[in-house]
């Protein structure tokens, strides 16, 4: 199932559904990197609330996705990592170093807004 990408002002919101195939994740990659340019977005939120697991592939893909979006000039916030997924990721040794995370979509938007106002200040 493809990941829907919503445009919300300067931001793009991608909500990942439960069982995502590797192919869907890679498709999301291309779609987001392209849409950041198309909509001149300043930030991207990847909502993983519904994701059933974060294994090494998913973590690696999301990490590289955030780096690519950064190269395109926008910030990325990963939100909604569930407690049991956080627990499993730490035990597996998976990290999202250097990538902003937020509790949920609301906090994610607050974080993007904060980063963007800081940037616009002289």
């Amino acid at each position: 199932m493809e990941v829907p990408i919503l445009k919300q002002g300067y931001y793009l919101i991608a909500t990942i559904q439960a069982a995502l195939t590797d192919e869907d994740l890679l498709k999301l990659h291309y779609a987001l990197v392209e849409q950041v340019g198309k909509h001149r977005s300043k930030g991207v939120i990847i909502d993983v609330t519904a994701l059933d697991i974060m294994d090494s592939f998913a973590t690696r893909t999301i990490r590289s996705l955030a780096h690519m979006i950064k190269l395109r000039g926008a910030d990325t916030v990963i939100c909604g990592i569930q407690p049991e997924i956080a627990f499993t990721m730490v035990q597996l040794g998976l990290t999202l170093e250097g990538i902003s995370t937020a509790l949920d979509l609301e906090e994610g938007l607050v974080l993007l807004n904060k980063n963007n106002t800081k940037k616009r200040k002289p």
């Binding site: 294994d55 090494s56 569930q82 407690p83 049991e84 597996l92």
Partner: protein, 133 residues
């Protein structure tokens, strides 16, 4: 629950089938939500190694008993190239750059029992057990 299920792993969609089945078996064995996530993640990691290194293989899921403990046994078997240096494969690779990055140390940490049998040129079999409390 009796018996076991075997899933042939060839493509990425088989990974999802395998981990969903693992979750289902885990639920029947009354595992907690966290443990179900752990079980699904471990299956995902092991199945991915099969596809990446051996192209295809099998995941065997079964319930297991020891005394009054009940658990799930996950066995990942392939006839791939094998792991030449198991010691290296068991080193943490994600953060240190050492190890082979197969995720095996992480899998071992997540499970209660861990066994690996591998022979160069013949294949690899990883068997893990998680006990339900």
């Amino acid at each position: 629950m009796e018996g076991s299920v075997s899933i042939t792993v060839v493509s990425a969609s088989d990974i999802i089938i395998a981990r969903d089945l693992g979750r289902k078996i885990g639920k029947e064995l009354n595992f907690s939500q966290t443990d179900l996530t752990i079980i699904a993640t471990v299956i995902s990691e092991l199945a991915r190694n099969i596809i990446l290194f051996a192209k295809q293989g099998n995941i065997l899921l079964s319930s297991t008993k020891q005394g009054n403990k009940v658990g799930i046994m996950i066995s990942a078997e392939d006839k791939g190239p094998g792991i030449p240096d198991v010691f290296l494969a068991m080193q943490d690779g994600y953060s240190t750059g050492k190890g082979l990055g197969l995720g095996l140390p992480g899998v071992k940490r997540l499970m209660d029992e861990f066994e690996i049998l591998t022979e160069t040129g013949k294949g690899t079999k990883v068997t893990v057990i998680k006990w339900s409390i």
